[in-house]
């Protein structure tokens, strides 16, 4: 179904090849996992199959990519889309309409189908993925898991022969991840050829038939999933763990520890919306607390309230026993959100860091900035424009900026989504170091590997009010 023959590909204005002599075959009913460290060519491989390379990204392609027996280069991308469905890390990037039903119907409207046929197809796909009740909803109001399902249902309604999933679980909670795995198994049985590009490996153990490990644009290894059990192999290629036991149930509740950040009677709701927090009281110690809950439970909103970015309707917040205003909270905290593009403003990486460390004394600033750049493997990029970095590098820079502010409260929202094993370890070490300095680190993450390696305790959302805190 998918055949790549001796592919050499370089992006425009790049001297280094993104793919170098890659050969790959995926049969109908087969699922293949493609993994490897960031920048090894995984996403490029996916883009060659769905036609984005070279039709959209241009660049220099040698070799032949065939999907369903037809050369991709000889077809328009809209024709390739007939055979290939693509699911991205952030499904919002592939939504064109704004409401669920309209989004699902959109691609069909360009295939000359009657309204009755469109309706039948989208209802069938929506039923199979359980998103029919969301038909009237606005897409941006859905949880990440729901968005992912809508995107998948939208693709499945088109009945493609090939499914390409590029980092599909990066924003999903572990339950939604396992749910996605079950759907992939079903698609396999229906005869679809599937390529999954992902850093997270554990959820694919019983799903994929084959694994390819990419390294510097080449397929370095190919074999069964069991080869990933080799620790030295994973370390060599910067891979994540092949099996992860869920650490969440074992984490103690945050209120059992001495509270540094204390919250009493917190009320918050968005304008004209339902109450997200209704009189919640809890305390968060110094160290690392995992904010745990399903997609859409209100974890990010809680972080925004706790750092003073959103104003609470009622309630008291104290830091180290002293009441603090939202303004003071914002001054003493760092919040690193997932939207790295929005967080980078300056001309160079080092200027970006210095802007964040503006309140640190001049004497210490230089050493501090250099230290964080080194720890997060950004030292060789100091003169680069932040917006020219790769996704993973931007993510690490945003985190480094958050750390450079030397906050009392540091909130990280999904800091390792889409990062490889080596970078996950770097982020984990930086978090640990900040916690050891005495900061209260709140970690919002679905990444079980990260939670297992850094969290001391947990705050579960929705919050069951803890015993009265001694404020």
């Amino acid at each position: 179904m998918i055949a790549l023959d001796h592919i050499h590909y370089a992006y425009p204005f790049q001297t280094c090849k993104a793919l170098d002599d890659v050969c790959l075959r995926i049969r109908p009913g087969e699922a293949v996992l493609c993994t490897g460290r960031s920048g090894s060519g995984k996403s490029t491989l996916a883009r060659l199959i769905n036609g984005l390379c070279p039709h959209v990204f241009r660049g220099d392609l040698r070799g032949r990519v065939t999907v369903a027996g037809q050369d991709n280069l000889a077809r328009r991308i809209s024709e390739i889309a007939h055979d290939v469905g693509t699911l991205f890390q952030d499904p919002e990037h592939q939504f064109f309409a704004l409401a669920v039903e309209d989004e699902m119907a959109f691609a069909h409207e360009w295939r000359n189908r009657t309204p009755a046929e469109i309706q039948r197809r989208i209802e069938e796909a929506a039923d199979s993925l359980g998103v029919r009740p969301l038909f009237g909803s606005v897409l941006h109001a859905l949880s990440e898991g729901e968005k992912q399902k809508v995107a998948l249902a939208s693709i499945m309604s088109l009945k493609p022969k090939v499914l390409v999933l590029d980092e599909p679980t990066a924003n999903l909670d572990p339950e939604a991840t396992m749910d996605l795995g079950r759907h992939i198994l079903r698609f396999k049985k229906e005869g679809m050829a599937i390529l999954v590009v992902d850093h997270r490996l554990y959820w694919l153990r019983d799903i994929v038939d084959r694994v390819i490990v990419m390294d510097r644009g080449r397929i370095a290894l190919e074999g069964g999933f069991t080869m990933l059990s080799d620790h030295s192999l994973r370390a060599h290629y910067g891979l994540r763990l092949d099996s992860v036991s869920d650490p969440r149930p074992g984490l103690t509740e945050s209120f059992l520890h001495d509270g540094f950040l204390q919250v009493e009677g917190l009320h918050f709701s968005y304008r004209r919306g339902r109450d997200l927090f209704n009189g919640a009281s809890f305390q968060l110690p110094r160290g690392v607390t995992g904010i745990i809950g399903n997609n859409g439970a209100g974890k990010t909103t809680l972080a925004r309230v706790l750092t003073g970015l959103n104003s609470k309707r009622a309630g008291k917040i104290r830091l180290d026993g002293k009441p603090v205003s939202p303004h003071e909270l914002l001054r003493r905290s760092s919040l690193v959100l997932q939207n790295t593009d929005h967080q980078l403003h300056m001309k160079t990486v080092v200027a970006e860091m210095e802007l964040s460390a503006a309140r640190v004394s001049t004497r210490l600033r230089e050493t501090l900035v250099a230290g964080y750049l080194r720890d997060l493997d950004l030292a060789h990029l100091v003169k680069r424009h932040p917006q020219s970095l790769s996704g993973g590098e931007k993510q690490r820079l945003a985190i480094a900026c958050g750390l450079a502010k030397q906050p009392d409260v540091l909130v990280l929202d999904e800091p390792t989504s889409g990062l490889d094993g080596r970078n996950l370890q770097r982020i984990a070490a930086a978090i640990r170091m900040t916690a050891d300095r005495g900061a209260c680190v709140l970690l919002i993450s679905h990444d079980l590997e990260l939670i297992a390696s850094v969290c001391d305790c947990a705050l579960r959302v929705p919050i069951k009010t803890s015993p009265p805190t001694p404020i």
Partner: protein
Amino acid sequence: MLVLFGNDPAPQPTWIRRLDVRTKMAISALASTAVMALNQPWSLSLLVVASTLYALSLRRLKLVLVCYLAVLFLGATALLFIHGLHWVWPRASATRIQDLIVPFLRTGVMVNVMLALALSSNIQSILTGLKSLRLPFCIFIPAVVMIRFIPNFIEDVRQIAETVRIRGYRFTPWLLGSRPLLAVRLLFAPLLFRALRTSDELGMAAELKGIGYSRILSPYKSVHFGKLDVGVGLTALLLVAAALAVQLLFPASPGVRI
């Protein structure tokens, strides 16, 4: 999501919201053609009054007034620069207030009809309306991408302002006055890159959905004009005809620039 101020969850039910979006688009197109053709203050005043009533029927008086103030601010800034230019370089012609009456009235009409369209229509209904017009592919796609870009752009501005607050800055007149270069960089550097990235993402999303596979689009949802649309459309036509009649009966005096 409305085209502007998208997170208003419960808009007030007014007749203007019941209008088909195509009617509102047609009124905007008619108004823009009319203001190009008319150059007489009285005829344009008639359209200004009618379009103001149209905009005020949104029952969002405060918001409409804020938009008027923003337009006045832009006009005043332009005037200031023209005078500044004249002061520096006297050969550049100075603008008298009476010269601005016709352009001001034209702007007023357009601001009113565009506000009525933007504040009463959601993006999805505009997309559906455009589909049902069966426009040529080369017009439909850019129009859809442009409209679809608006909510992303608004969201980007919101998120950038938020990240600036997290970094310890606020877009206050003090910041703009004391550190203008930093203020501009804080807002515009990420906004520029986001805008480029959003347009890329939307383009790729469209490609991967197979847009352009067929030259003809078959709309999933059909939309129908109602009696209200016919009534409002005819009223708009009559008003433009009346303005044209005023223009013909009282031609522009030679002192008024067009």
